[in-house]
Point group: C2
Chain length 212, copies 2
């Protein structure tokens, strides 16, 4: 297991530090496996948090939305904290408090910046679509300049991030091992269901997705 | 579709308000369907957010953890914002910006309070375990007073909460309907994988979970 140092005091994991990962590959992998992150920020000293879909390009996490949004204004003016969390399994022990969960999560601190150049913004939206559905961008009705202009794209560097991962079996007290309760891990998976084409879809071949 | 008023100005959904739900039943259902929430809070004016497992009893969302945690101290001293988000489906349109996601989410504001009475605390931990694994508590090695004392249980009222739900098909521009790109919804499901019993599990029957 590759280990490295926390990039800052606020990303150093104090609680169960053996679950901490600070390497860029682990952080990128967790971001890419999730469809949604939560972005926390302040407006007038009050804390807000909003779930939102995200994508990654290199060392940045990206979000997009309507240009006029109050949230996006707040995000470029102050610090944010972004979380991603995936529940990977239920861990059942013989005692209540040794029940646990296998999970992958990241916490990321920093400030979002707006991607304002229309060419970069469009490339970035393409990277979002093609990252989720390989090759799909070129099959779509071409995006218009008006659509690009109405969309805000924000990004935040992954410089100050920490991952926390639990991925293992049950840890019971030695004295409890003979207790007659099932012990083990029940994995959780996100799977794709049966695609439901729009009634008027002119194409029948369902696109592949990053999720399988 | 049942609609009701936002409980407060900060929970009133401004962006895509037709996706807003403020009724207690919808909010409870989304909380119960998720294994993890994200809790956002402030320490010394800095915003932090942490993914954590949760459960619900009536009109409160509960979390638990180690008593000494810095986060739990901050949560009883200031305001928090809790989010829950579930990705239910990928929505593929003929144009990039009409791609969307079906999801269920909640945003909840308030202040956590500690459950300090040891009997209530233990009942609440039982409700967490039995809520996830019906009837499991009584099969476990009985919890000790020392374990109860070392665990902090915090709860926050669901009084100031809003849900946002997208659950539908593709919405394309009328002019794009003949475009030759697949359009439709690809559902996402969380499923249980093959249980992995601990090598020394004295019982072979895998417990049922709330998730199926």
């Amino acid at each position: 297991m590759r280990q490295s140092a926390a990039p800052s005091p606020r990303t150093r994991i104090r609680r169960l530090p053996d679950r901490a990962r600070y390497d860029a590959a682990t952080i990128a992998e967790i971001i890419d496996a999730a469809m949604l992150c939560t972005v926390a920020f302040q407006i007038d000293g009050s804390v807000h948090a909003i779930p939102i879909t995200h994508w990654r390009e290199g060392g940045h996490l990206y979000i997009h939305g309507a240009k006029a949004s109050r949230m996006f204004k707040a995000l470029t003016e102050g610090e944010a904290c972004v979380t991603v969390a995936l529940a990977d399994g239920l861990v059942l022990a013989r005692s209540a408090l040794h029940h646990s969960m296998n999970y992958r999560s990241i916490v990321l601190y920093g400030r979002f910046e707006a991607v304002t150049d229309p060419v970069r913004k469009q490339e970035s939206l393409q990277s979002f679509i093609d990252g989720l559905y390989p090759g799909r961008w070129d099959s779509l009705r071409p995006i218009t300049r008006k659509e690009v202009d109405a969309t805000a794209v924000l990004r935040i560097a992954l410089d100050e991030a920490a991952a926390k991962v639990r991925n293992g079996g049950v840890k019971d007290e030695p004295a409890d091992l003979d207790w007659r309760a099932w012990a083990g891990v029940i994995p959780l998976h996100t799977v794709i269901g049966e695609p439901a084409p729009a009634r008027d879809s002119a194409v029948s071949k369902v696109p592949a997705t990053r999720l399988g």
